[in-house]
Symmetry: C2
Subunit: 216 residues, 2 copies
């Protein structure tokens, strides 16, 4: 059986989004800087329909993660783009367009029931209103032997950590300061025990991997 993995970019001061997200800046002011390390990579560009990207250590980490992923779990805000569009219109399309980069089943944790959305390139969005355990369980079933990727945002990540549902945490630590915004590791039970299992460095980002041990 695969693992449940949280995979997310974080600034050195602990933020996974900047302040004041808008539809134009769903990651908040400065938040795009968290992902600057990805945008030139071959694997990332292929997922977005482009070619001629860089093949380097960072690209290998991304390719490895994507190849291992059989299903994705994300929060409602991450689906909708971080702002209130979906609450205003429960059938809004979300932020990911016709051809989302996931290419797996995606389970969106939400209080708003709605019909599944089918998108191109094998991405389907299924809306789960029974809570995070149910969403992770359904993603596990869909993923088979592959991993369940918890994609964010911070609130979902914290819930999954605190519920003891996470097997592995991969943080792409960007050498930037955001100063304010949404912190990843806030409201997390400090008894969660982490074991550092791998570090891969590049000038652009440091990939830190932790196994989650049982809480004491």
């Amino acid at each position: 059986m695969g693992k449940v993995v949280l995979d997310i970019s974080m600034s050195l001061d602990g933020f996974v989004a900047g302040p004041n997200p808008t539809l134009e800046e769903p990651l908040g002011a400065g938040g795009e800087r968290l992902h600057e390390w990805t945008v030139g990579l071959a694997t990332w560009r292929e997922r977005h329909g482009e070619s001629h990207g860089a093949r380097n250590a960072d690209d290998e980490v991304v390719a490895e993660s994507l190849a291992a992923t059989g299903a994705v779990v994300m929060g409602r805000r991450m689906f909708s783009g971080g702002v209130g569009a979906w609450e205003d219109d429960p059938n809004a399309d979300g932020w990911w367009g016709d051809t989302p980069p996931f290419r797996t089943p995606v389970f969106v944790v939400t209080h708003h029931a709605r019909e599944p959305l089918e998108r191109k390139e094998r991405t389907t969005f299924t809306f789960v209103t029974e809570g995070i355990e149910s969403a992770v369980e359904r993603a596990r079933a869909a993923a088979g032997d592959k991993n369940v990727l918890v994609a964010g945002g911070a609130s979902l990540a914290q819930q999954v950590l605190n519920a003891g549902l996470l097997d592995e945490l991969q943080i792409h630590l960007a050498p930037i300061l955001l100063g304010e915004g949404t912190r990843l590791l806030e409201h997390v039970d400090p008894d969660v025990r982490l074991e550092s299992t791998r570090v891969i460095e590049s000038p652009a980002v440091t990939h830190l991997r932790f196994e989650i041990a049982a809480s004491v």
Copy 2:
């Protein structure tokens, strides 16, 4: 001329001390866990008058840092042990005992003027009331070709960063969560630009080194 270097242990959730520091727990609740990676190391044990420590990658990082250091700058709380003893008694001895581990001149940034303290093994504490620029300048003069080590705490680190006085930041990232306490990278100008220059990993801790580039 040497560099001005901040060298500090930080939890994965960004803390350099836990909550509620006391004389018995100057690093706050759980704060000792930040430094667990150091206590068995040969270099650390030698500095504390003990032998038979471990010689490994972590020890090399500590030995390298100590060998490069010609003077130390610290905040008043770090000198006094984090609590109010010194305010109660301006001539209190501080927290470091007869034989502090620094073995260099130490410049303590404070509002309370007092005579220098001479300790064993070449450690002297000089109290600087003219501000951080003056403390760093005096430490530079004392350090000669060696580095000035900014030892903490967080408030001093933030002031030194924001004043543009820092050349290098070395964070020993411990794979622990403290949940609350004192954050290192709070109140720091997000325009401070960091360049990742070295990563050394061990199971106990990841040593991250950044050069501070000019602010944009």
